[in-house]
């Protein structure tokens, strides 16, 4: 197994009275995608900012490619690419110019930048839009351009903060395809996301954060197997809440959220047969997924940041 290229050890950060990051440790290896999921205020963005040396930790270490952060962050950033949650493309420049200007920030020679631009435009499926400005692009195109821009220095590690938020399904799938391509090339990715299908598709390993603390870590399938029952039956409709009391014994765990009831169980057939007797409900039967894991570990309360 190759050595980790990125490592966080026992990171702590407090803002005022709020312990935003509480003893966080993680490692990323080349070719690996590590996902960090957590509710609002869990400390994901602060962690990323500490990885980039934009905020200093109270204690703990951040190390990228063997270089300590923030002391040698400038050197480390030469091998890191960042895609932020909100695009920060230059609105006055075309796609090609955006790439060129950004390449200069890394001190790359002109010839290198010129050679990479057409390849990155192709990677981002924006060859036809080389002269278009970001304002003329759709949301998905802008996000792909941001990803292309993050690759101008051919980084070994990518930090992506919610990369497909706000994109339609086609755009999301295209982004995922590209990210999987990058992983195959041997690049490493640290990804934060709220989309559990994204986490399940892309991530080799997942970290679940809540209140700055790591509350679960493992592969997506492994975490589901470890923490959850295999199946879920969701019940909606006027009679839904009544079924919760009536059939609670047929499931390992029952939760109610508003007017919906969630049955978590390993043998769904008896419950499904029982529910078929009711005519004032609709049911949805599906395998347990990361969203269920997330809600189980972090609860259903809305978090105000």
């Amino acid at each position: 197994m190759p050595e980790p290229i990125f490592r966080i050890s026992h990171l702590f950060k407090k803002f005022g009275d709020n312990q935003v990051v509480n003893d966080l440790s993680l490692e990323i290896r080349p070719g690996e995608c590590l996902g960090v999921i957590g509710p609002n205020g869990a400390g994901k963005t602060t962690t990323i900012r500490m990885c980039l040396g934009l905020v200093g930790p109270d204690s703990g270490e951040v190390e990228a490619f063997g270089l300590p952060i923030p002391q040698e962050v400038r050197e480390a950033k030469k091998r890191i690419g960042v895609v932020t949650q909100f695009d920060s493309l230059d609105p006055d420049f075309s796609c090609a110019e955006n790439l060129r200007v950004y390449g200069r920030y890394f001190g790359l020679p002109k010839a290198t930048i010129d050679a990479r631009i057409p390849k990155l435009l192709e990677f981002s499926a924006l060859q036809a839009k080389a002269d278009a400005k970001p304002g003329e692009l759709s949301g998905g195109m802008r996000r792909r351009l941001s990803l292309g821009r993050a690759l101008i220095n051919d980084p070994d590690l990518l930090l992506l903060d919610e990369p497909t938020t706000g994109l339609d399904p086609q755009a999301r799938h295209l982004m995922w395809e590209r990210l999987q391509n990058l992983l195959q090339q041997g690049k490493a990715i640290l990804l934060t996301t709220h989309f559990m299908d994204e986490a399940e598709r892309l991530c080799d390993r997942l970290l679940v954060l809540d209140h700055g603390r790591k509350i679960a870590e493992g592969t997506p399938r492994g975490l589901i197997g470890e923490h959850l029952e295999s199946d879920v039956v969701e019940v909606f409709g006027d009679g839904a809440l009544a079924t919760a009391q009536q059939h609670a014994a047929l499931a390992e765990r029952v939760e109610t959220s508003g007017e919906t009831v969630f049955f978590y169980l390993s043998r769904p057939q008896p419950l499904l047969q029982a529910l078929a007797q009711h005519h004032d409900i609709r049911t949805l039967h599906r395998p347990a997924n990361l969203e269920d894991l997330f809600l189980k570990l972090t609860g259903r309360q809305i978090r105000d940041e």
């Binding site: 980039l52 934009l54 200093g56 932020t84 920060s88 230059d90 420049f93 200007v101 920030y105 890394f106």
Partner: protein, 261 residues
């Protein structure tokens, strides 16, 4: 741990791509930009210089148009640098998040602030060069010493950009800058000996005028534009340098706090 906000500036050669970026954006809009910057000064020059000037006798031994033009070019430079270091810098910093994206690359905030200051000074040089060309063409002055005024006006640009960046660091919106123009720049323009000699003002206002950077700028620039040597060189230069260095350092400290607190 992160380095203290109060540490000395740490600038590397990496500031240059940031200046270059701003220059490239400007180039796309160069003509309207320069025209915008010189339109008002020229109109003022014509209205007050020729209009008012034909009713006024000589001011300090000079025709009013010459007195006015040689002073107002310093104001135009100061205003151009100020505008760029306020509205444009704020747009890049806060609205477009350009500074954030640059800091994801191996460029530090210290480099960016330095680049923005330098760029605002460059914008001011483009403006005053255009005004100088007009002064030449209109025959207001054709003195060769005008060329010496250019590097000096660059220094003036640096000074005013540095001061303005302090307010950029503190701003929470564009409206904040209105206060700066109304309460600082406009009064300064009238108190610095541009439109009339300082000696016309009551003693206490003269005392204030003598510590204003714009007065120092006018005292240095006016003679050079008109083919003379400034009476006092080191005094005004020191005033400008003090504002430039003090302003730049304060802007840097405040900008660091804004980003890294």
């Amino acid at each position: 741990m992160l380095i203290s906000f109060y540490a000395a500036p740490r600038i590397t050669a990496r500031f240059w791509p940031v200046v270059l970026r701003n220059l490239l954006v400007w180039r796309k809009l160069a003509v309207p930009s320069v025209l915008g910057n010189i339109a008002e000064p020229l109109i003022t020059l014509v209205a007050f210089g020729y209009g008012l000037g034909s009713m006024i006798g000589q001011v300090q031994g000079l025709p009013y148009i010459e007195y006015l033009a040689s002073g107002s070019i310093a104001v135009s430079g100061a205003l151009a640098a100020t505008f760029e270091a306020l509205y444009s810098a704020y747009s890049r910093m806060q609205v477009q998040r350009t500074w954030d994206s640059i800091m994801n690359a191996p460029i530090a905030l210290d480099d960016i602030v330095f680049a923005e200051m330098l760029w605002a000074a460059m914008k001011s040089v483009f403006t005053v060069a255009a005004i100088m060309a007009v002064i030449f063409v209109l025959g207001i002055s054709r003195a060769p010493t005008m060329l010496l005024a250019l590097p000096l006006l660059c220094f003036v640009g640096v000074t005013f950009a540095s001061i303005a960046l302090v307010f950029n660091a503190l701003a929470q919106g564009y409206d904040f800058f209105t206060y700066y123009f109304t309460l600082v720049m406009t009064p300064m323009t009238f108190l610095s000996g541009v439109y009339f000699p300082i000696e016309q003002m009551p003693g206490w206002l003269q005392a204030i005028a003598h510590v204003l950077p714009l007065t120092a700028a006018v005292d240095l620039v006016r003679p050079l534009i008109l083919g003379q040597w400034p009476q006092q060189v080191w005094g005004p230069m020191l005033v400008l340098a003090a504002y430039a260095l003090g302003g730049y350092y304060l802007a840097l400290v405040l900008t660091r706090r804004r980003f890294f607190k």
